[in-house]
């Protein structure tokens, strides 16, 4: 190490029963020493401030946040990390319980949660549910909604005796693997700390980078003096705007408006101004403070109203009046529709700016191979292919010379759906320094980078007939976009496009404005653009039901969408069981016995929602190719290239199928459901399938984890590739047996003749025979969405999809009418996800969505001061629900079959969020008698409304 500030001392740490003498600096945390010096990367850095619990270790049996412990103070203590939990290659019963109960999703919080649970069961082997929630309340989880984690801890003793991990009882009849709640294929790696996330990789000779962020919301950079920073020992490179390619980038090709580092102006607090690459993170951080930047501060705007005013400061020249996107959609005849209405209601709503807050911070590592000819980039991303495409653009090199590696991702929810400054800076800096460069965001930087949900200011008007049938819907929405476009064009269209999918709406008008403001850019968050308008729409529908004396469930049933319908905005709905979800949710929750009959302070509410199963069109036009080589392309109503591609390669002994697909596993379970479909289609056991998704050199293109596309699109590609393998296998076997290949079938690791029982062979044996005669047994498959999706109007592509999901949620809550405090007690949800591939995974997605959506409705919000600084850029003040806040959740799946989906399946990940906001808001209104139309619905807002009502 070239930098040697602060004194080092040798500390002997006893970790997992082994003594490790380590040289540490006085103030080094146990977390950093475990990770950086002992290579025990199962202990995760999520917030670094003692809130998220991902860094939990046991110190003399007590759970502690290793980010707040100094290594120097741990001498003599027995430290247990996740790597020490399994003994002699045998999983601890708790680990097995986590695997089998579906308590693992992205896996980033898992090690910490397991260790907290271990501390609990050691002193209390039979904890109550309340005690479990208490013990786990310091382990934040963004994926699971806690339900299955609590259940796993409750049931841990059941796994004391079982030797092997066993699957839960079968859920389905027809298939062998599909339709069953099998444990995740990556669960063992995640409960043992073996799973390596991007920041868990360490390369020899690696450098570390940090970004200098703008401290002001809007200004011109007059001068940057980096001399002192460059002179600091250990600093290898300082990058400024002029040192990086002068090429803009972003998400939507029509509006690439971001620079790797600011060229002339900074547009929000946190905008990237410079970067330092040094021998370690601390030196880089220290060097940042030595960079002197002179700004000419410019006036700034912080909400759409200010930004749209005449004479308001302009963020980008090309977006006149700060309007980044304007949508004006009119379907049917709105005037006629409202004239036909017997009753109309118009209300205004304000959403909130929430941030995805995946537990794993963004991270990138880049290095170059072959004398600088090839780039290798590790990135914590949901969309490896779009990162690939964007890196190729900014570095102006062919995609073929770039290799993107996406290790397991610790949650995304849309926050990792774009190319980050880290991806670009590490790529550029590693080229310049000739060494691997690693960069990881702090929690605060994650907030500054942003890409959270747009805050929407919404005016909705709905007209209905006496019986509640909708005649017309009109909405006008202003979206607070932040400083860059990111996904924003699509967000603005989505805010309108998804409204007509749930109900028959004959006449519809939507006008949307996405407005630039001097705040971090907003992007795509779970349910992209739709949750807030859905909350507004559903809320008015419930109000109208009360106005007309119709039950809120009934009014929804009367308007509910039917299968095989083209919506007013030209979206083609195929399978659709929204009515079934409504009926089931009402029955299961006891709706009719409760609605309108609960005492004051108790409430019940309903909301519906749904989403696309994959966007009908890719984000960019044309072929897969460096963008500078492509001519401007007109929009064609068909996909140019396949959105999902898979290769199935059979091992030479026939005992394994290796499934190659770039589908991004971000915790949602895609690797598991894709493997299940592969096993099913091949007729072999799931344990014989190994999936490789991480490396673009190995796995073919898949567009990634956004728009809830992976099960349907990836699944179709996988099934096709698997069938391609079978076809080849059957051709070879039919020659041996002298029969028609169409008479053969594969199942239960055998291939056999459908009628002639004498013709039967082990699957592996058949594969070996194939290899002997024909060489590698490989199948390929791909999926393109159907041609011609969508209408012919501007923006018609947004909202198109091969299939749509539907769901209904009932929320039950109690409200303390004195303080306004809300307790969300129970959630009942039914989802139409087509035919589920893995019901347990579906329930896990629903439970996670319920807790995330509920938190979004009642407590989450990024807050700013009047200078554009974020007031709560940490997990202390930005409130995620804890295990103690989460409600009891019942998740049910209705019978459904989607013809376009593999084995009848469609999405659940995002759609499950959509009913939640309105269900919560309705339940609170039902409990209190006041509708709060501004999110989040905090106790203070409730109390204010109650006082106002009392006084009027």
């Amino acid at each position: 190490m070239e930098q040697n500030k602060g004194k080092h001392q040798i500390v002997v740490l006893k970790v997992n029963g082994e003594e490790h003498p380590v040289a540490v600096k006085d103030g080094e945390t146990l977390l950093d020493v475990l990770r950086d010096k002992l290579g025990l990367t199962g202990t995760k850095k999520g917030c670094n401030l003692g809130v998220c619990g991902a860094c939990t270790v046991l110190v003399d049996g007590e759970p502690k946040n290793s980010c707040l412990l100094l290594a120097a103070s741990c001498e003599g203590a027995e430290i247990t990390t996740i790597e020490g939990v399994a003994q002699e290659a045998k999983l601890h019963p708790l680990q097995r319980a986590f695997i089998n109960h579906g308590a693992v999703q992205c896996g980033f919080c898992t090690p910490g949660a397991i260790l907290s649970a271990m501390a609990l069961i050691k002193c209390n082997p039979d904890p109550s549910e309340e005690e479990i929630k208490e013990a786990l309340s310091g382990n934040l989880c963004r994926c699971t909604g806690y339900t299955r984690i609590v259940e796993a801890v409750k049931e841990w003793k059941k796994y004391l005796k079982t030797k092997k991990t066993q699957s839960l009882p079968d859920d389905l009849r027809k298939y062998r693997t599909v339709g069953k709640s099998l444990p995740r294929v990556d669960a063992t790696a995640k409960v043992t700390g073996q799973a390596k996330f991007t920041a868990d990789y360490y390369f020899k000779n690696m450098l570390h980078g940090k970004v200098l962020h703008s401290p002001i919301p809007h200004g011109r950079i007059k001068k940057i003096d980096t001399r002192k920073a460059e002179a600091l020992p250990g600093v290898k490179l300082v990058l400024k705007g002029k040192d990086v390619p002068d090429i803009t980038y972003g998400i939507s090709p029509a509006r690439y408006d971001e620079h790797v580092l600011a060229k002339e102006r900074v547009l929000h607090v946190g905008d990237e101004v410079a970067a330092v690459i040094a021998v370690d993170e601390e030196t880089a951080e220290k060097a940042l403070s030595l960079i002197k930047v002179e700004y000419e501060e410019l006036p700034a705007v912080f909400n759409p109203e200010e930004a749209l005013k005449e004479g308001a400061p302009q963020l980008h020249e090309r977006y006149k009046n700060n309007i980044n996107t304007h949508v004006d959609h009119h379907f049917g005849d709105i005037e006629k529709g409202f004239n036909e209405a017997d009753h109309t209601r118009e209300e205004e709503f304000v959403g909130n700016h929430v941030y995805q807050n995946p537990l794993e911070p963004h991270a990138s590592i880049a290095y170059w191979e072959n004398d600088g000819a090839n780039l290798v980039l590790y990135s914590s991303t949901q969309v490896p292919h779009y990162v690939h495409y964007m890196i190729a653009r900014v570095l102006d090199m062919p995609l073929g010379k770039i290799r993107i590696i996406r290790p397991p991702v610790g949650g995304g929810f849309g926050g990792k759906a774009g190319t980050t400054p880290l991806d670009l800076i590490t790529s550029i800096a590693s080229k310049k320094t000739g060494r691997p460069v690693k960069m990881v965001y702090s929690r605060e930087e994650m907030f500054l980078y942003g890409r959270g949900r747009h805050k929407q200011y919404m005016k909705f008007k709905i007209g209905v007939k006496k019986d509640g049938r909708i005649t017309a819907v009109q909405s006008k929405i202003y979206l607070d976009g932040g400083a860059y476009t990111s996904f924003g064009i699509v967000t603005a269209y989505y805010a309108g496009a998804m409204i007509p999918t749930l109900y028959h709406i004959p006449n519809y008008r939507y006008e949307g404005f996405r407005v630039m403001t001097n705040k971090p850019a907003c992007g795509a968050m779970r349910g992209h653009g739709t949750p807030q308008p859905r909350f507004a729409f559903e809320s008015i529908l419930s109000m109208i039901a009360d106005d007309l004396g119709i039950d809120p469930v009934e009014i929804r049933l009367r308007n509910a969408m039917d299968p095989d319908t083209r919506t007013c905005n030209d979206l083609d709905v195929r399978s659709c069981e929204i009515k079934a979800t409504l009926k089931e949710v009402a029955k299961k929750s006891g709706w009719r016995e409760k609605y309108g009959k609960l005492p004051p302070g108790k409430g019940i509410g309903i909301g519906c929602g749904g989403f696309v199963s994959g966007a009908g069109y890719a984000i960019y036009r044309g072929q897969v190719q460096r963008s500078s080589e492509k001519k401007p392309e007109t929009f064609l109503k068909k996909s140019v290239f396949p959105h999902a591609n898979a290769i199935v390669k059979i091992s030479e002994d026939g005992e394994a199928a290796v499934l190659l697909i770039q589908a991004a596993e971000i915790g949602q379970g895609s690797s598991t459901v894709l493997s299940q479909m592969c096993a099913e289609a091949l007729g072999i056991s799931l344990h014989k399938v190994r999936i490789r998704t991480e490396d673009s050199d190995i796995s073919p293109l898949d567009l990634g984890a956004y728009s809830s596309r992976t099960t349907l699109m990836g699944g179709n590609a996988v099934v096709q590739a698997s069938r391609d393998v079978l076809k080849k296998l059957f051709v070879a076997a039919s020659k041996i047996w002298n029969c028609d290949r169409k008479e053969l079938e594969a199942r239960d690791n055998q291939i056999f003749h459908k009628k002639d029982k004498s013709k039967r062979m082990g699957w592996a044996e058949a594969a070996r025979k194939y290899f002997n005669e024909h060489g590698p047994l490989v199948g390929t498959g791909w999926y393109k969405p159907p041609e011609g999706l969508g209408g012919d109007y501007k923006g018609a592509a947004v909202g198109t999809s091969p299939a749509y999901s539907f769901g209904s949620s009932v929320c039950e809550c109690s409200v303390d009418l004195e303080t306004g405090k809300v307790r969300i007690e129970k959630f009942t949800d039914y989802h139409d996800c087509g035919t589920p591939v893995n019901p347990q995974a579906v329930h896990g997605q629903v439970e996670g969505a319920v807790v995330m959506g509920t938190g979004e409705t009642i407590m989450e919000e990024v807050m700013y001061d009047e200078k554009g600084n974020i007031l709560n850029p940490n997990l202390h003040d930005y409130l995620l629900m804890t295990a103690k806040d989460a409600p009891d959740i019942f998740s049910g799946i209705v019978k459904s079959y989607e013809p376009e989906g593999p084995y009848g399946a469609k999405e659940v990940g995002e759609g499950a969020t959509l009913p939640v906001l309105a269900a919560v808001a309705h339940a609170i209104a039902n409990a209190t008698g006041v509708w709060i139309k501004e999110l989040p619905i905090t106790p203070e807002k409730i109390l204010k409304a109650l006082k106002k009502k009392k006084n009027s």
């Binding site: 006085d26 103070s73 409130l879």
Partner: protein, 294 residues
């Protein structure tokens, strides 16, 4: 400030700690580190020398002595929750400790730190003040005992002087027919700071309130005693009506600020509600009808 650049000192015993404290004038004392290290990491404070008390066994005990409970400054919140002396003599302190942060933080955070950090929303001081706790402040060569109610001077500011160390907390045995209740209002169920909190203590004599102490947390620069309210309650027969009246007096005794957790208006609305609830529960305890458990 980069955390790893601190200089870490870990004296073996109290005498050594006090000596070091006398020598390193600018040094900061660290107990559990759950406040200090967060502040350093966030750049809120500069810290060069750190004196850690983690090796000092004398400060890790809870004992009964001379009709008092003596709690060492290094006793963690988790130890307070599970300690039998606390459970017997002042269970409300365990409730307050249970409401703190998370399992992990409670396993590190200490009573000494919770007091010395002087964060206005700290959970333990209100209950301790109602119980008339005192703290021992020691420096090399001398020591003094002061009432905890006089210990705080402002947010993160105490009467503790350079070279002084908070070593022990003394809680006198409570008289019979005494109840203490801690009511905390926070925006989530765990891992949350109080928006407002109240500790109420009632001691009854022949069914009449002999002594009432009410302490408000998170609604003033320091935990504050609601003196007028306490005075109003003394000598009266407890009833819901009385508590209602008392809570309205108390509403004016806090001096809250607006922050991201709540406005001045909201905090003022919360105070009387929490007081009424705290008094109601304290009364039940004083009458022997309930034990503080959450």
């Amino acid at each position: 400030m980069i955390l790893s650049e601190i200089r870490f000192n870990s004296p073996q015993n109290l005498a050594e700690a006090l000596k070091l404290l006398g020598e390193l004038k600018e040094a900061r004392i660290v107990a559990g580190g759950t406040d200090l290290y967060v502040d350093i990491k966030q750049g809120l404070i500069e810290a060069g020398n750190i004196i850690s008390l983690h090796k000092i066994e004398d400060l890790k005990k809870i004992e009964k002595k001379d009709k008092k409970i003596r709690i060492g400054a290094m006793v963690t919140a988790q130890e307070i929750i599970s300690n039998s002396i606390i459970a017997q003599y002042i269970p409300s302190l365990a409730s307050a400790a249970r409401s703190m942060a998370s399992y992990q933080i409670r396993s590190m955070a200490t009573i000494g730190g919770n007091i010395s950090s002087a964060v206005p929303s700290a959970d333990l001081p209100p209950v301790l003040i109602t119980a008339e706790a005192t703290v021992e402040l020691r420096c090399s060569g001398s020591s003094r005992e002061v009432s905890l109610s006089e210990f705080f001077r402002g947010p993160r500011e105490t009467i503790c002087q350079t070279g002084e160390l908070l070593t022990f907390i003394f809680i006198p045995f409570l008289p019979p027919n005494t109840g203490i209740s801690y009511q905390k209002f926070a925006l989530r169920e765990a891992n949350a700071l109080a928006v407002a909190s109240v500790a109420s203590r009632l001691t009854l004599k022949d069914g009449i309130i002999d002594r009432a102490v009410i302490v408000l947390g998170a609604v003033a620069p320091t935990p504050v005693k609601a003196l007028k309210t306490s005075e109003f309650l003394s000598g009266k027969e407890p009833s819901q009506g009385l508590f209602e009246d008392a809570s309205l007096i108390a509403k004016e005794e806090g001096k809250p600020i607006s922050d991201i957790r709540g406005s001045i208006w909201y905090r003022k609305e919360l105070i009387p509600i929490l007081i009424r609830r705290a008094l109601t529960e304290a009364l039940l305890q004083a009458q022997g009808k309930s034990r503080t458990r959450k």
